[in-house]
Symmetry: C2
Subunit: 183 residues, 2 copies
DNA sequence: CGCACCATGTAATGCGTTACATGATTTT
DNA sequence: AAAATCATGTAACGCATTACATGGTGCG
């Protein structure tokens, strides 16, 4: 899947591995993420498969960089993947929920400490979607009018993130309440 | 993490790998899942680490089975993990959202087909949490009064699942609406 | 002076999936 | 007669993380 994420970004413009990481970090990170090392490995594989090409650009002030460009075959591969509907639910792995599930024998205070910490993290994430992500999308739309359609979809995915975090925070508050009063 | 999921279940009672798979499939599957082959491999590793022991029980009508029991060291290991708060957000990987993010050049009908399919899947999952999971928890609580506290936490995690699916369905409906009218 | 940023990559290890292999009993 | 359930495991492969390795520029 990382493969397609990289093709998706390169379909807008040629980029380095480092830049791809940055793009992911401030856009798809809440539904798809990767480490730099894995990005470099995957780019290499994509090049071997003929879905991207690369050239090394020398820079004077900074380290040389390898710029990747999507090929026609790469575009076809991406389009084919995008058009194929997902026929299953994405498997989830939520460590916090898993821990709570098995925590009945723990002391009340220990459980609460974990939930408070998560509540704070999710509040921060919620604020991020509302302020930072939202602003970035508005800016992209203003700067590149050709991307209006794209921005509509980005905004839809951002809203999903926002609503997910709202739900998570609400659920954590209710669960904290439950454990404080009726547990 | 699978390691701890298995210890968590074995902390209730001794079980086989096959049984552990079944338990996971109808309780933690929406926040933690695994394939049978991986469960067997992990059980073997747990035994090597001394966190579980196993004995083979012969059966006449059915294949022999290997029953795993948690050790004192295993219980300590589990408790230590449970008590340790999660200091980060669980990384998410949502293929449907990822696809939508890059789908601007797709035909409207292609996007809609994918969203409709997912909406149906999430509606089914929602119904499952409301009907099946909910019923299983009520039954466990009725049958084993000693597990009242456990059942409270199970119910909290079930509610998370239910609310998550409600959100997902609502978001899919809104996004379908958006693409039908303003895209 | 130290930290963050830019920039790329390899190696070791771990975790997970898919495929393979077997085989009796029970249900449809 | 076919499919599902019970029951366990190995092997090959793929994807991801962590650690290692390098090194210049810009900013506070």
């Amino acid at each position: 899947m990382l493969k397609y994420t990289l093709l998706g970004f390169l379909n807008y413009q040629p980029m380095t591995g480092y830049e791809l990481k940055q793009r992911m970090d401030n856009s798809t990170t809440h539904f798809w993420h990767a480490k730099l090392s894995q990005i470099y490995v995957t780019l290499k594989a994509l090049e071997e498969e003929g879905f991207v090409t690369s050239i090394v650009e020398a820079q004077n002030d900074r380290p040389d960089k390898r710029v990747f460009t999507i090929t026609l075959r790469g575009q076809a591969e991406l389009r084919q993947w995008l058009a194929q509907p997902e026929t299953e639910l994405s498997p989830k792995k939520e460590t916090t929920i898993l821990k709570l599930f098995f925590s009945a024998q723990l002391e009340r205070e220990t459980i609460l400490a974990g939930l408070h910490l998560q509540r704070d993290l999710h509040r921060q994430q919620l604020a991020y979607y509302r302020e930072v992500t939202s602003q970035m999308i508005r800016q992209a739309r203003a700067e590149f009018p050709a991307l209006t359609k794209d921005a509509q979809l980005w905004e839809a995915t951002r809203r999903f993130g926002e609503e997910y975090e709202e739900l998570y925070v609400r659920w954590l508050e209710e669960t904290i309440q439950l454990i404080e009063t009726k547990f």
